[in-house]
């Protein structure tokens, strides 16, 4: 099953390359409504038409699922230590996956919002949230993503994810969120 999917992806990619001649599509990958590439039957019958329709539906479904997984990679939050704005080594993988997705989808733009837990000064936490968002942006810039595609904002402690008042809640609330602001439809999985 997995091997079949992969082959289909490669086939689709091959078709796209053959048709457009571009290494990466400027437009998001078109829905595979054009006939699937390996169409061995020269004379379509009612039965094969039905099979082709099912194939098309399956491909669309799989593409949507892949796009969803890619979107999830892009939206995954990262967290911070108390009063720190340094990207933790455990979050570097998360940011690396975002960098790959952003590289594979050059029309995507994101907004990075920094947040703080309720401890610390209300006003300082706005600056701290800003520094946390900027830290993620710098990391992605260093991975080759153009700075103009990433916007930085801060909510300080004004929008907690978890309303609790314990370390579990604080740890969840010290975070960067990543929101797609443009080009988020039909995301392509990185190679």
């Amino acid at each position: 099953m997995r091997a079949t999917s992969l082959m289909l992806v490669l086939a689709t990619a091959g078709l796209a390359a053959a048709c457009g001649g571009k290494p990466a599509p400027e437009q998001p990958a078109p829905e595979p409504t054009a006939a699937p590439a390996p169409a061995p039957t020269p004379v379509p019958t009612d039965d094969s038409a039905e099979r082709a329709r099912l194939d098309r539906e399956r491909l669309a479904r799989e593409a949507a699922e892949r796009s969803k997984a890619v979107a999830a990679d892009l939206a995954a939050m990262i967290n911070f230590e108390y009063d720190q704005a340094t990207v933790r080594s455990t979050d570097q993988g998360t940011l690396d996956r975002k960098a790959a997705v952003l590289a594979a989808n050059p029309n995507v733009r994101i907004q990075i919002s920094g947040h703080a837990d309720e401890r610390g000064s209300d006003e300082y936490n706005l600056a701290l949230g800003n520094r946390r968002a900027a830290a993620a942006k710098r990391y992605l810039e260093n991975k080759g993503i153009d700075a103009s595609r990433m916007d930085v904002v801060s909510y300080g402690e004004e929008r907690p994810l978890n309303p609790g008042h314990d370390e579990t809640a604080y740890a969840q609330n010290r975070r960067d969120e990543f929101q797609v602001t443009a080009g988020g439809d039909n995301l392509v999985a990185p190679q």
């Binding site: 706005l126 930085v152 004004e158």
Partner: protein, 442 residues
């Protein structure tokens, strides 16, 4: 004779109770090595009694409480009118039983009597046995929204007669609750919303003349700084603050300049803008990925204290108002001292109050500007976001010592703390200067 003796004894027994309540201090334990800067010697304050009398109950209660909250007097309680020994009443000074009140430990007696269009206040010097000051004050009707503020002025003037320093009751506070900015009188009365519901407004500060306030309006992760007039509600967006994140405004003492912090991807830096001429934002700090924020002017306008993360955790620094001569203001031990934030320069220029984390909880600290000595003011619960009263002696701050975040007042001289009547989850208070009669519409 026996009856008089019993009466005096009864009141003498009451007096210590009054003192005990007034001396409720921030007495919980403080870490070793930190000097708690509050040394209170009971008995050095003059005793003061507000004389009972007919009518004027509201005004008398307000004046009595204001004088109590001034922390400059030992307040001496007496029975309400009726059983009042030698109560003043409308007949004037001659009727006051100086000897009796002296026996209770009072040095001053405050007498309020009704006068045409207002009231007459008299300050009796009980030891000298005569009226030291008296003045008739015009008052609006009790139902008028400006009534309380006018009575506060009476109390402030009486305090000035007795001590040489006017009280601060005729002042107001700004505060944030539920994303909305409110104002209220210094005693917690007259709570009035100033910004619309459904917004996230933060960091209100008064203009020095008490006619405007500046604040941050946070929206979609960005923040603009607005200046709003209290009378007309007219609002001005401070030039240069319409984009990115702009926080922690502070007026210069002449009201012409506004310092604030601007955040972008390179960090947060302090800027100065001329709001009188609406021009020319000048950058005072260059953080390079560090944060510089929360500026506060010295009363002479020549210096700014501010918070910086240049050495790691946020600490309190000082610079000239043109951005030169930046240096540490409140000493700290690297790696040991907690984060320090929210500085505010005292009206007399001598101290900067701020909060600093001690064992994970913010506590109020003072640093004296000349000697750079730091002393801790609180130790019970979380205590943060201090703001000075115009007398440079009282500080309103946010504390959870009662279980939820509320506004409290500490008297730096005596250490007495009291709670202000405030809405739930009040934060980021700002205390005005003394409000002149022309400054604020009721």
């Amino acid at each position: 004779m026996t009856r008089l003796l019993a009466c005096v004894t009864a009141i003498a027994l009451l007096a210590p109770l009054t003192s005990t309540r007034a001396a409720a201090q921030d007495t919980s334990q403080v870490r070793e090595g930190v000097r708690v800067g509050v040394e209170y010697q009971p008995g050095v304050r003059p005793g003061l009694v507000v004389l009972p009398g007919p009518g004027l109950d509201t005004a008398r209660a307000i004046v009595r409480r204001d004088l109590d909250f001034s922390d400059r007097f030992e307040m001496i309680a007496v029975d309400p009118p009726g059983g009042a020994p030698g109560g003043g009443g409308a007949e004037g000074a001659g009727a006051v039983n100086y000897g009796l009140y002296r026996t209770l430990g009072a040095e001053f007696g405050v007498e309020l009597t009704a006068a045409a269009g207002g009231l007459t206040a008299r300050l009796h010097d009980l030891n000298a046995g005569k009226v030291r000051n008296q003045q008739t004050f015009a008052l609006p009707p009790e139902s008028d929204p400006g009534y309380r503020l006018e009575v506060h002025r009476v109390a402030d003037e009486v305090a000035r007669w007795a001590t040489g320093t006017a009280g601060v009751a005729a002042s107001r506070l700004l505060l944030v609750s539920g994303g909305r900015i409110y104002r209220m009188d210094s005693d917690g009365e007259g709570l009035t919303p100033l910004t619309p519901a459904g917004q996230t407004a933060l960091s209100p500060v008064w203009s020095p003349d008490g006619q405007r306030f500046a604040y941050t309006l946070l929206g979609a992760g960005r923040g603009g700084i607005l200046v709003q007039s209290l009378g007309s509600d007219a609002t001005l967006q401070v030039p240069g603050t319409a984009t990115a994140l702009n926080i922690t405004p502070a007026f210069s003492p002449d009201g012409r300049l506004l310092a604030y912090a601007h955040s972008d991807e390179t960090g947060t830096d302090v800027y100065l803008v001329n709001i009188a001429d609406r021009c020319c934002a000048q950058r005072l700090t260059v953080g390079r990925y560090a944060d510089n924020l929360s500026p506060t002017f010295s009363p002479d306008g020549r210096r700014l204290a501010f918070v910086s993360t240049r050495a790691g955790p946020p600490q309190v620094y000082v610079m000239a108002a043109d951005g030169t001569d930046q240096e540490l203001l409140a000493p700290f031990d690297y790696g040991a001292t907690g984060s320090s934030n929210a500085p505010e320069w005292s009206p007399d220029g001598a101290n900067v109050v701020f909060h600093r984390e001690v064992d994970g909880s913010p506590q109020l600290f003072l640093v004296d500007v000349a000697g750079r000595r730091v002393r801790q003011l609180t130790s019970s619960g979380r205590n943060e976001d201090p703001t000075w009263a115009p007398d440079g002696r009282h500080i309103t701050f946010v504390s959870d010592r009662s279980g939820s975040r509320q506004l409290w007042v500490i008297d730096v001289e005596t250490g007495r703390v009291r709670q202000l009547k405030t809405p739930g989850a009040a934060r980021l208070p700002a205390w005005s200067r003394r409000l002149s009669r022309t400054a604020v519409a009721p």
